[in-house]
């Protein structure tokens, strides 16, 4: 439900806009910033973080700190963990604690969040569903800010579930490592120099091995198949995930 709210207030006329971010900012602040560990309700301090109310802050300072955090303190950067709209709303709220009228306007909040269809939203959840542990797509793929970029960015999205399951995996080689009983395993090769780096794909999560070139033998091709790591999902769920990929990746659909 929260997903729909920022786009709603961005569409409101300017007068109403002045109020909306403040309400939203209060809400986000209370959940993310006001906890007993940190700034407390109303930014009154008293947790592990300083008071924010009536400090004579200026807006660009507030924005900078919320975006980038303060190195050397527990104050984290929120530029990636909050949506742009939420971040600007918190700025408006901390402005209000310091008696400043928000000077930044809707355009500072960036473009409205991209709208995913219901199916794609469901797919997004499945893509990184923590309940699946290491068996989720985001263990190896990074899409839409979710997951880890172990696999290279997707070039082409399979047309359907059958194609996804039959996906050839030409990037995977076969490595033999005479160290640590690692044996022969499917490997994703990152670099082959004096220090060779390969991902061991025997099990999820992949293990990045750094080994002397002489200790490892790499041959092209592998019996590893992408289908073997899709088993946590039903076909219906994979459909949702494909819908998410089509909408989230720039080259995902014919429209882009």
């Amino acid at each position: 439900m929260m997903q729909g709210r920022p786009s709603l207030w961005l569409l409101l006329p300017a007068v109403a806009f002045a109020q909306e971010p403040l309400a939203r900012g209060t809400d986000v602040f209370n959940k993310s910033c006001a906890t007993g560990y940190c700034h407390q309700v109303n930014g009154s301090g008293g947790g592990a973080a300083p008071r924010l109310a009536a400090r004579g802050f200026e807006e660009d300072y507030i924005l900078r700190v919320i975006q980038n955090g303060i190195p050397g303190t527990p104050m984290p950067a929120f530029s990636t963990s909050l949506s742009r709209a939420d971040l600007m709303a918190v700025v408006a709220y901390v402005d209000s604690l310091n008696g400043i009228k928000p000077a930044m306007n809707a355009s500072d909040a960036g473009p409205p969040p991209r709208k995913l269809s219901g199916k794609a939203q469901e797919g997004r959840k499945l893509f990184s569903d923590q309940v699946l542990g290491f068996a989720r797509c985001s263990t190896c793929h990074q899409v839409d800010g979710l997951g880890l970029p172990i696999a290279s960015p997707m070039q082409k999205i399979p047309e359907n579930v059958a194609a996804l399951k039959q996906l050839e995996t030409p990037g995977v080689s076969t490595a033999t490592l005479d160290q640590d009983g690692a044996g022969t395993f499917p490997a994703l090769v990152l670099t082959q120099s004096q220090e060779t780096k390969v991902y061991d794909l025997t099990l999820a999560p992949p293990v990045l091995r750094t080994v002397p070139k002489a200790a490892i033998k790499i041959v092209a091709g592998s019996s590893w198949r992408h289908a073997s790591v899709l088993t946590a999902y039903s076909d219906a769920e994979l459909e949702f995930i494909l819908a998410f990929l089509r909408e989230a990746l720039p080259h995902g659909s014919a429209n882009n």
């Binding site: 990636t80 099990l203 293990v207």
Partner: protein, 550 residues
């Protein structure tokens, strides 16, 4: 027969060696987590002669220094707050190697590190963006590296030291105050390949799942943010599991059926098969936790006579200010007693472990509760001396007003379900103390009081000494039998880490890590504004007796 059994039990007990000797090989000294060393060259009769022999600055001081070093084969290994690792010559302090972890690709919030683990020629590091890394013990070069979770999605990471168990390395993570579901993960030392994972909150179809209301199990907390223990004879790994989330509001996770167990296995100690990670037993100290009373702290494993027979005990301090004593073979509750002086969250604990007179936070209204959500002690670890039979505890006398507020979970965001406000105890200012407790009787043997908070782990030695440090920079030794202060030294920076001892070439050393900083600074200043003047640091001071006096 009974006599024979008792004799056998006694023999087994004498066989238990939880002491560290020349080396300090695990976070808790040994896998029994005693933080005790059998070294006694430095003892009550000569501790006054202790002098610094070298010191070392890590240079990574912004977030303070919280580590307990590992000493192995004449070298010290420890991480800094930002996941750098140093290997130093333990005699001279000379740098053997320095591993600099690259800054994470995205910013991250918790920045601490409490220790590395060393085994199999490797040094294991949990990073602040959720990687587990194996470094070559000789060179500091990366051997393997694995991403354990997406730190941005889960807002979880590693700041505890990993635990070595046979051919595996086990890591727990933070995230219990966020909408997150906790777990422990074990990897093979040699290959980095996954060995097992144990979720602290049972999924659909698993026993215990029914203790969660509807979908609340998905984001129910249960972080494993400190280091566990291991009993090789029983082949069991013991780990404390953190609070339930949302921390202060239980309305959306309690099924309301009045069961004895609510929200398993949060606020519990779990015993897992070391090979498979399967649950052997659990003991939930606080069913339906509503106070942020983690049970994440150390599990101290000791064999002791208890009510007339030898038992394998597990002694565990909860943030609630209570010591829980369990049978570590079965998980049976044996006894509990408070280790803080201000304790009103319950009126008592029955002989079978039931909590009486719970003072629960309510929605939209302040409830005054002691101890505070910061805990009757922080994560800094207790020590146990088999010579005295006592456990040495660093306690905090703080209370708080708790206010519960219903909250929708959003994965990876704070999920406190309310707020807390630190308050002094009703009868005077906040303070802290180190105590000696007999864990079998619960009787306090002595107390040593201090005006600010004590945040450093405790070291006990066979020299009948207790070492720790305070936020003002003083590193000190107490007499383990009387609590009298015998020696102190100003290291120049506040203590929030774990001192250790080791012996190289016949000389015993005491290593005192110090370094103020990070979140705790802010917490202290709300009560004692002058502590805002305490400067940041990250260093190690190593002491020994002068050569001629040994």
């Amino acid at each position: 027969m009974r006599l024979l059994a008792a004799l056998l039990a006694l023999t087994a007990a004498q066989a238990q060696d939880g002491a560290a000797h020349d080396e300090w090989l695990h976070y808790g000294g040994t896998q029994f987590a005693w933080r005790y060393s059998a070294l006694d060259q430095i003892n009550t009769s000569n501790v006054k002669k202790l002098v610094p022999v070298w010191s070392f600055q890590t240079g990574d001081y912004d977030y303070g220094f919280q580590a307990t070093p590992i000493e192995s084969g004449g070298a010290l290994y420890f991480p800094t707050a930002r996941s750098q690792v140093f290997a130093l010559d333990a005699v001279s302090g000379r740098v053997l190697w320095h591993y600099k972890y690259p800054l994470p690709r995205r910013p991250y919030s918790y920045i601490n590190n409490r220790g590395v683990a060393v085994q199999d020629g490797k040094v294991f590091l949990g990073t602040y963006d959720n990687y587990l890394i194996a470094l070559d013990q000789k060179t500091g070069q990366e051997v393997w590296k694995v991403a354990v979770d997406d730190a941005i999605q889960c807002a979880c990471n590693f700041d505890a030291a990993p635990l070595i168990v046979k051919d595996k390395v086990i890591v727990g993570g933070t995230g219990g105050d966020q909408a997150h579901r906790g777990y422990l993960t074990a990897f093979y030392l040699k290959t980095g390949r996954l060995a097992w994972r144990f979720y602290t909150i049972p999924g659909p179809g698993e026993p215990g799942h029914e203790t969660w209301k509807s979908d609340s199990w998905r984001y129910g907390g249960g972080a494993t943010w400190m280091t566990g223990s291991f009993d090789p004879d029983l082949n069991l790994v013991y780990w404390g599991v953190g609070n339930a989330a949302s921390d202060l509001y239980a309305g959306d996770r309690d099924t309301g059926q009045g069961s004895a167990k609510v929200n398993l296995y949060t606020a519990s100690v779990v015993a897992l098969d070391a090979d498979t990670g399967k649950l052997k037993w659990y003991y939930q100290e606080i069913p339906k936790d509503m106070w942020d009373y983690d049970a994440a702290y150390e599990c101290v494993l000791m064999d002791r006579e208890f009510r007339g027979r030898m038992r394998k005990l597990l002694v565990h301090l909860n943030k609630s200010g209570d010591v829980f004593v369990l049978d570590r073979v079965t998980g049976e509750f044996l006894t509990a007693f408070p280790y803080v002086e201000h304790h009103n969250w319950i009126t008592g604990i029955t002989e079978d472990g039931k909590l009486l007179g719970r003072r629960e936070p309510v929605e939209g209204k302040n409830t005054f509760v002691c101890p505070s959500a910061s805990g009757g002690k922080s994560w800094n670890q207790v020590a146990y001396s088999p010579r005295t039979g006592w456990v040495y505890t660093p306690s905090l006398e703080f209370c708080n007003d708790l206010i519960a507020r219903r909250q929708e979970p959003e994965e990876g965001r704070f999920f406190i379900g309310g707020n807390w406000f630190l308050k002094p105890p009703p009868d005077g200012p906040a303070y802290s103390h180190i105590d000696a407790y007999d864990p079998v009787t619960g009787k306090r043997q002595w107390t040593w009081r201090y005006k600010y908070m004590l945040f450093a782990s405790i070291l006990a030695t066979a020299g009948d000494l207790i070492f720790s440090g305070d936020p003002e920079g003083t590193f000190f030794a107490l007499d383990a039998r009387s609590g009298n202060k015998l020696w102190s030294y100003q290291t120049g920076n506040g203590h929030r880490a774990g001192p250790i001892t080791y012996r190289v070439n016949g000389r015993q050393y005491i290593a005192a890590p110090s370094g103020w900083g990070a979140g705790i600074t802010g917490l202290m200043t709300t009560v004692w504004p002058e502590t805002a003047q305490f400067v940041k640091g990250s260093m190690l001071t190593v002491f020994a007796l002068p050569e001629e006096t040994r």
